[in-house]
Amino acid sequence: MTVESTAARKPRRSSGTSSTTSTTGSKTGGAKRAARTKKPETAQDQSRTEPPLVQLLTPEGERVQHPDYDVDLSPEELRGLYRDMVMTRRFDGEATALQRQGELGLWASLLGQEAAQIGSGRALRDDDYVFPTYREHGVAWCRGVDPTNLLGMFRGVNNGGWDPNSNNFQLYTIVIGSQTLHATGYAMGVAKDGTDSAVIAYFGDGASSQGDVAESFTFSAVYNAPVVFFCQNNQWAISEPTEKQTRVPLYQRAQGYGFPGVRVDGNDVLACLAVTRWALERARRGEGPTLVEAFTYRMGAHTTSDDPTRYRTDDERAAWEAKDPILRLRRHLEAQGHADEAWFAQVEEESEALGRRVREAVRAMPDPDHTAIFENVYADGHALVDEERAQFAAYQASFADGEVK
């Protein structure tokens, strides 16, 4: 039996032909002859074949129906989602500003991904558990993690500043993909415990290439673990476009592991909510893992250290701006008469207050005590750590009058 994938007979690029991809001034181009015959597709060809997204709210704010997924939200709930997104964006903007002011060492902005994060985050129950990357500030917001907690690591005062079990929101994980295995193991534990909680693991389009992610697909499928893999395909992994990670849409990856994959409009908070809720329900019912690919866009730089002008065009960004997740929900709220100017102004004000609170909290964040280096290396202690801590203390004490250390 044969399975042909959509891309199987259409290679995206033929590595045998030398000059197809390197257009500018190739000095000593690697391949010597073009033995391979297929013409590579261009980016245009590719976008023409992109599969349709699950969408419930158009960029213009129009509510549309989808045969498989739906949500029925009250005006209050809709306003809640809007508020979440605005607050998240404001917090994110403040953090970016704080980095520029030198208060943070680094910031990874979620600008543009608010709908993916709030939609999926609001689909969760309290007893569900979240395994984020380093960019899930919106999900953290939904979980009730104090936003200022997220900043400790970026300020450099800790490597993760909250108790994961307080909000069922694991620490940020920097090594990409690792957390998908933790999520799977946690979900295996949930199943063992016989509860109907679910687990959600976030990761990026770039991370999808890591072996750990594939192994998490295998384990979750084999053990039928109640986990939702939520991939925010924001089109970029630092400077690499998604086509460096895959030649078919990412949501299709799940199929080969024996569970469903769905591509959802990642800028549509309603669709993200609906699809994630459906996937979580599958998990609760014992139907195992699901892969959700939220098709979205990283509007900002990868982090504040990054310079996207080196690798992508303004046009692309502009095209995505038209699909802004906040704007489309606002249009919908306005069109439906669910919210008036005063309400929007009030949310704006709230978000400004959040910005102020965050700013003040960060500035007041104390540097850690020096001996924190030695704390929590082990839970049960370790003789060498004790020895080094003591040496360190004695050494520091030798600069009695607060001299250079």
């Binding site: 994961p164 079990n165 946690y186 534990g189 063992k192 839970a379």
Partner: protein
């Protein structure tokens, strides 16, 4: 279980059984740990008695095994993971050093990962490539991990109990060529501390420090040396991270000479760390430099060369003689 003479592998098996019985959160995970009972039968019979929910045959992916064990630990379980052979731990190395080792610190102490990673290690069984390595230094260098290795059945039983009870991740190196060596196990004994060395033989002229499979070789060397009138003290270090430097120091202050013996390559091995630290601690006591006997800077050789590669009785005695000649 009564006091019994058990092969080391069976002592481990009994220890796992006891852990499964005592604590419902203990899980066994690994490749072939179920019906087969592991390639060394260390988990023999456990799946039959405790079920597939607690003794789990995993997909063949070591990163996945350790990574999901971390998730299970976050959920409150205490996974005991088996890596089939030393050389197959490296696909899991990333999860071990960047996640398992660091999550407690990263969480400012709020998260604990009580995971034991069992690794049958070392050579001497005539195996093919990747089945005879001694990678303990690669774990000891990494803060956040504890590294231990029993040398006999009693320690195998008790140290595994203690490792499972520890709230820290423990890399548990099992001396595979001693799996079949029998020793007494008293399930009612009061065990020594997990990270303390044990004086395996008292001596006056020189100290041999070893752990795991090399303790037996050192005891044989000490016996042989005794016939030549040399009094050799043998320390079974038991723990590599942390090392029990106090015990080594005390012994060296008495004997004034130290030879460290391990199967792992000497270069950047345990002997280096012990030599450096003990020389610092005992600079005026040492009559000779701390000598090291261990593997060469070469891949573990094919089976027909392992006798030449592994530190044996004669190489240990040679080092003893060299140290005494100072």
């Amino acid at each position: 279980m009564a006091v019994q003479k058990l092969p080391l592998a069976k002592a481990l098996n009994e220890s796992l059984r006891k852990a499964l019985e005592t604590d419902p959160k203990v899980l066994i995970m690994g490749e072939d740990v179920g019906k087969l009972g592991g390639v060394f039968r260390v988990t023999d019979g456990l799946q039959k008695d405790f079920g597939e929910e607690r003794v789990i045959d995993t997909p063949l992916a070591e990163s996945g095994i350790v990574g999901t064990a971390i998730g299970l630990a976050l959920r409150g379980y205490r996974p005991v993971v088996e890596i089939q052979f030393d050389g197959f731990v490296f696909p899991a190395y990333d999860q071990i050093v960047t996640q398992l080792a660091k999550m407690h610190a990263r969480s400012l102490g709020t998260v604990k990962l009580p995971i034991v990673v069992r690794i049958p290690y070392g050579g001497g069984i005539g195996a093919v490539e990747h089945h005879s390595e001694s990678p303990e230094a690669l774990f000891a260098h990494v803060a956040g991990l504890k590294v231990v290795s029993p040398s006999n059945s009693s320690d195998a039983y008790w140290m595994l109990q203690q490792a499972i009870q520890s709230d820290d991740p423990v890399i548990f190196f099992e001396p595979k060529r001693r799996y079949w060596d029998k020793g007494e196990v008293d399930p009612d004994a009061i065990p020594g501390e997990l990270h303390k060395a044990r004086t395996a033989r008292v001596g006056a002229d020189i100290t041999l420090a070893a752990y795991g499979p090399m303790v037996k070789v050192c005891l044989e060397a000490a016996a042989a040396a005794a016939e030549e009138g040399k009094s050799v003290e043998v320390l079974d270090l038991r723990s590599v991270s942390p090392f029990d430097f106090d015990a080594i120091q005390a012994s060296v202050e008495k004997t004034r000479r130290l030879v460290v013996v391990h199967e792992a390559p000497v270069f950047f091995g345990s002997g280096a760390e012990i030599a450096a630290r003990i020389t610092e601690r005992c600079f005026y006591h040492l009559e000779a430099p701390v000598l090291r006997v261990g593997g060469y800077h070469a891949p573990y050789p094919p089976a027909r060369l392992e006798e030449e590669y592994l530190p044996g009785l004669d190489r240990v005695l040679d080092a003893v003689d060299r140290a005494l000649a100072y």
